[in-house]
Symmetry: D2
Subunit: 280 residues, 4 copies
Amino acid sequence: MRELKLARREARPEGTVVRLRNGAAFGGAALAICAGPCAVESHEQIEATASAVARAGANVLRGGAFKPRTSPYAFQGLRREGLELLRAAADRHGLAAVTEVLDPRDVEPVASYADMLQIGSRNMQNFALLKEVGLSGKPVLLKRGFAATVDEWLMAAEYVLAEGNPNVVLCERGVRSFDAATRNLLDLAVVPLLAELTHLPVIVDPSHGTGLARLVEPMALAGVAAGADGVLVEVHPDPASAVSDGPQSITFDRFGALVARIAEIAVAVGRRLPAAGLAV
Amino acid sequence: MRELKLARREARPEGTVVRLRNGAAFGGAALAICAGPCAVESHEQIEATASAVARAGANVLRGGAFKPRTSPYAFQGLRREGLELLRAAADRHGLAAVTEVLDPRDVEPVASYADMLQIGSRNMQNFALLKEVGLSGKPVLLKRGFAATVDEWLMAAEYVLAEGNPNVVLCERGVRSFDAATRNLLDLAVVPLLAELTHLPVIVDPSHGTGLARLVEPMALAGVAAGADGVLVEVHPDPASAVSDGPQSITFDRFGALVARIAEIAVAVGRRLPAAGLAV
Amino acid sequence: MRELKLARREARPEGTVVRLRNGAAFGGAALAICAGPCAVESHEQIEATASAVARAGANVLRGGAFKPRTSPYAFQGLRREGLELLRAAADRHGLAAVTEVLDPRDVEPVASYADMLQIGSRNMQNFALLKEVGLSGKPVLLKRGFAATVDEWLMAAEYVLAEGNPNVVLCERGVRSFDAATRNLLDLAVVPLLAELTHLPVIVDPSHGTGLARLVEPMALAGVAAGADGVLVEVHPDPASAVSDGPQSITFDRFGALVARIAEIAVAVGRRLPAAGLAV
Amino acid sequence: MRELKLARREARPEGTVVRLRNGAAFGGAALAICAGPCAVESHEQIEATASAVARAGANVLRGGAFKPRTSPYAFQGLRREGLELLRAAADRHGLAAVTEVLDPRDVEPVASYADMLQIGSRNMQNFALLKEVGLSGKPVLLKRGFAATVDEWLMAAEYVLAEGNPNVVLCERGVRSFDAATRNLLDLAVVPLLAELTHLPVIVDPSHGTGLARLVEPMALAGVAAGADGVLVEVHPDPASAVSDGPQSITFDRFGALVARIAEIAVAVGRRLPAAGLAV
């Protein structure tokens, strides 16, 4: 960790709060509640989801337009159309929009639609992309690589910060393990560990972190109890028919119940739901 | 999981509650709070610790008399003297006593002192030992192996159950990972996963699970939020001078604060501290 | 590695050669060729296998009589009858016999039949068992644990050496990995690494190391090329009907071909087959 | 593996041979011997190295001009100047040149200098980059990701093939493990496994695979014994002063000795050095 400069805790002992234009904040007393489908599939799907998650208390809408898929023959996303649908749905419901960017050449167009640029696990050390999102100045959601050490993860954040962009949020989403019982192994101990090492906010993605819808709720609660600044949850109107990540997506009803339970855990650790959520 | 018979959830849908003679229970509405030093070192050390953890709300005292050490030249435990000290300290403070057994030939003597026999991670698939603790009928605390799958872990429990001993509690204590930032990687998703697969109670050991005293509190809270039936925490009068596991042991003060915070999280997930703890 | 004393290279710079009574040696110019079924199943099975592997050039017969099985309901071995069958078959064909011991209470009876005691991966840190095989004085084949570091493995060997038994052979058999494409991940780099760190011989088990019969030959050759002092290969008269480990067992014919190819690689790295093998 | 189409063995049962313009080939009877520094540092360094490795029998020169570094403050490569130096040195000594490309926008310029484009481990699932090197038509050296399954690796190759570029060579370079004794864990079993699953050639990188110069030779030999179509070795005039990867780089002398030993192993597995190498 010798070379970590801008991302280390000492560089900003009071901690960084990353704010999006709808008021959603990562790192303050209020949690960030990010939710939405794996991929934007249609107007109906993203509109229904945005409406439901906003009503339940979310303040950030997620949805992929450019999808990194293991197979070149799998659905690769609606691309620009997906961005437009995401933006419109977010705006209609007072949500901020976060979406993944895969190619440095797409940073500018994606940034023109999204409030926050997601760097996925596969690209955590895609340094050309990190530099480009650094130059964009847009808030960045930096997911941990499949087998990235905490040190490597923070160094990846440092790439963004070194380009003059201080708005980085880290997202723990599970690492590779020897046990196929869950899709990934959600490493919640990094939440308090990162709080020591860096001033950057940290959120938890229990959807990718477990791969199993029925484990999403307990692991979201555990993440908040461990001190996370928010959660990122895959929600879909009909998980069984989702184009991708159906097995780990939860329904609107379950998401509503989850937010209510997060509120209770949040109180126990001195945090609270975002204002919008409380207002519902 | 084809061959799992006695340990599977369907075999006892209502869930197993493992009770110790002082009333401590694993699997009921009240949590089990297990605490104590890595190793029993002296009368003074175990007496002070038993007194402190009982006062703070623990109901089970841990302490090793036979220590499995990587090096043959490291302290191997006080053996029978350690058992006697542990038993006496537990009795003076109304605690149950749990301690590790390493050798099938020691099961009988260890069982004559302890209320619960711990099978350590290194011995999770020591089948001779599993059969022997199965025959003993004593409650068993079965820690997960360093790199054991959930399936293998449940099959290890099945070895104990198959000998006629239904009193098995599973303990998640972290698995091996590629990142040396923490000693092990605490796999909290197994807590809700095991609740589906088995009727056996599950507790969490955030001390071995992280190896770092300052991560013990957040991860204990996270474990309870994930649905664990209790915690196992290393507590020492003076961690800096502990013969073993000092870096992951917490002080009496921090343990007291931890139990108070566990109480708050417990409420949020419909659980509570054990009666003794509430009475303090 | 601070505490390693007896097992470190400096303690015996010339290297240890572990010799069995039939002349088989681990650590000399000649390789040790160990082969046989996972489990001794019957007189016919072990006799046919012993005959075939001896003819092909093996000098050590393997065969389990006490089997460590994940499930308590799986075949646990023929026990004493298996030991008798193994001993008799080995003697008829001039082979040494190696077999696993699981329980410290069985060390004496197993040692009365076997020339070499195997400590399996699940028991690499079963310290009671390590001490007992140390006291027995018999040559020990110490398999690496599923997720044991090289340091922990050497410390396990140190437990045996510290009891006065210098005859330990290390066996790399693969470690746990995130990829289910092979049963384990055979870590061949430990072969030259151990040659630096310790004077103890090292052999390679490509059968457990891959779990796939068709990968056994290339990985056995790779092991010898990396400098291994021998190989341990599962051979069965009819792999498809084997009680255990069928998918990773090879036929007599394939074993014969393998030994012939090992001979060629051996020459390229300055080693040779054992005399018996050369004589065929 | 359901969706693998172009990369699967059945699509080209006879196997693919990837040929570079100097006659170097991957997948034929002759091995590909790729060697050179981690990074191109200067004219003197790359010229001396090219001369030495060509003399020793290499037919491909490696050298990084764009370096993917964990830290943004570490040396990032000489960029275009590095490409020019690499090209010139390769040409002077009859070598082909392979170098890494990090950014889809750099594929065209890098391809104008190099004979083969390397996709590094961090970018194995950088799909924008994979598509771009696919479109370029240049031979591609696709390194396995730190924690990529064989299935994911082949799917990454499929991205390149799906763009109409059939010239992909896979390179095993070690995966993440729990043991820090080596930098990575070289997974040689994938060599024969890939030979079943795909028609694409496979080479082995024992330098990154172990991280320790003294393990490079035995693991290169083991790789060839396992059936690899070539090796990729880091060679430096003075490893101790190398800007990057010094601890795993070998000297000219050791590289010469290594090639001589590879020749012997190659014969034992029915392969041979490239013609240039034999001619020395």
